[in-house]
């Protein structure tokens, strides 16, 4: 389990318009590229200072490559990060105001308290 790395993916993709679009259009390619090139980047540092130990589990990789926000929630990914990125990618596909957000919530409706732990 690497909740931190999943959150790092969501965080770095969400804050970059180009990466947000790339992840929407090509999730598998974007996740593979990101894990190979970006996962170990220590933010604010040069390449020579990259970390050496970060990688996704199979379940995490699958959840990200299939845009499975329910699985991400169940794994304890930070819900604010997932929601914000999903709004950026998918709100445009719904006609009604908040249509995307309500659909997103409905797909999580089977989950009761306590929610999965989001501590990293």
């Amino acid at each position: 389990m690497s909740k931190y790395l999943v959150n790092k993916f969501l965080f770095t993709i969400d804050r970059d318009h180009e990466l947000t679009e790339r992840y929407r259009e090509d999730p598998a390619g974007t996740v593979a590229w990101w894990e190979a090139e970006e996962a170990n980047r220590l933010l604010n540092c040069i390449d020579a200072e990259k970390s050496t130990w970060l990688s996704f589990t199979d379940a995490e990789r699958t959840a990200l490559t299939t845009h499975d926000h329910v699985a991400l929630f169940e794994m304890g990914a930070h819900p604010f990060l997932t929601l914000t990125l999903w709004i950026a990618m998918f709100e445009r596909d719904f006609d009604e105001p908040l249509g995307m957000q309500l659909d997103y919530a409905a797909k999580l409706a089977h989950l009761g308290l306590p929610y999965p732990d989001i501590a990293t």
Partner: protein, 298 residues
């Protein structure tokens, strides 16, 4: 000594700015009462005539990140940029530019550390909507220098509610003792019950109206003890998964002390309860006739 002229504690709603800019024919039905409530609330700050604003909020994973996460941070910079690209994208918030007040920042850091809070600091901070939203609501001319204070209500492990109240009390002591002639207002924003990214998000009301009803009474009545006896780090999960933002209200209650608010209003919106509180620690510092209204909660 400085004069603490007003303490404002309010929800921050990133959609207010966009909603308030809509022409009437495009505005949803809730827009007009929302704008009215905010404009009435704005008057509570205007009449206090502050010279500098201490702004309490919480970064939403914009600049503060899990590789280096402070619990409490004070900005110390001559200027601050405001709002982020993904806030422009999601909320339609424009970017802002603030003057800072480095002397007060430095004083608060020194005194806060000496009083038992190992405060982090930032010399280059782009503040997010937790700080910019109250500027849009209560000081849209954005003409005053600020001291931003960030709290971690977002990335566990979080400080406990008692710690937020204690930090509020400490901030009050520090401002009251600041050797300055300036008039200081503190504006803090948080949440009542709130769910984001979970099954209860964006419902017709906040996820827990019963919690909201109790919470606004604790704040309006200055009932710090009642609030602390009912709220724990664990209990805040139940009203909604983003309800830990309520601890910023508790910090503001710590600043105000065990005192009834002078203005208390709330508004049931489509997925949150909005709430607006103001305290005047020394009413003799406030000019003019009494407020037209003390808000719906008083």
């Amino acid at each position: 000594m400085a004069k603490l002229v007003a303490i404002l504690a309010t929800t921050h709603h990133p959609f207010y700015f966009k909603t308030s800019q809509l022409p009437p024919e495009e505005a949803p039905p809730f827009a007009a009462p929302w704008v009215s409530a905010v404009e009435a609330y704005r008057e509570t700050l205007t009449r206090a005539r502050p010279d500098v604003l201490v702004m309490v909020g919480s970064d939403h994973f914009h600049q503060l990140w899990l590789d280096n996460m402070p619990q409490f941070l004070i900005g110390k910079a001559p200027y601050y940029d405001g709002n982020w690209e993904n806030e422009m994208r999601e909320f339609g918030l424009p970017k802002l530019f603030f003057k800072g007040h480095e002397e007060l920042s430095a004083y608060m850091l020194r005194e806060g550390i000496d009083k038992g809070f190992d405060l982090a600091f930032s010399n280059e901070l782009r503040v997010d909507h937790s700080v910019t939203c109250p500027i849009f609501t209560v000081r849209p001319q954005n003409d005053l220098p600020i001291v931003p204070i960030y709290t971690n209500i977002f990335a566990p492990p979080l400080p406990r509610p008692e710690r937020f109240v204690q930090l509020g009390k400490t901030i009050r002591e520090i401002i009251d003792a600041w050797p300055s002639d300036l008039r200081v207002a503190v504006i803090g924003t948080g949440h009542l019950s709130l769910e984001l990214g979970g099954p209860r998000q964006f419902g017709p009301h906040g996820p827990d109206p019963e919690f909201d009803a109790r919470a606004v009474r604790w704040i309006a009545d200055g009932d710090i003890d009642g609030c602390l006896s009912s709220v724990t780090l664990d209990s805040l999960h139940a009203p909604g998964n983003a309800t830990h933002g309520f601890m910023d209200f508790m910090l503001m209650m710590g600043i105000a002390g065990h005192t009834r608010a002078d203005y208390a209003d709330n508004l049931d919106l489509f997925h949150t309860m909005e709430a607006y509180f103001t305290w005047y620690p020394d009413p003799s510092l406030i000019d003019g006739p009494p407020l037209t209204s003390k808000g719906a909660l008083l």
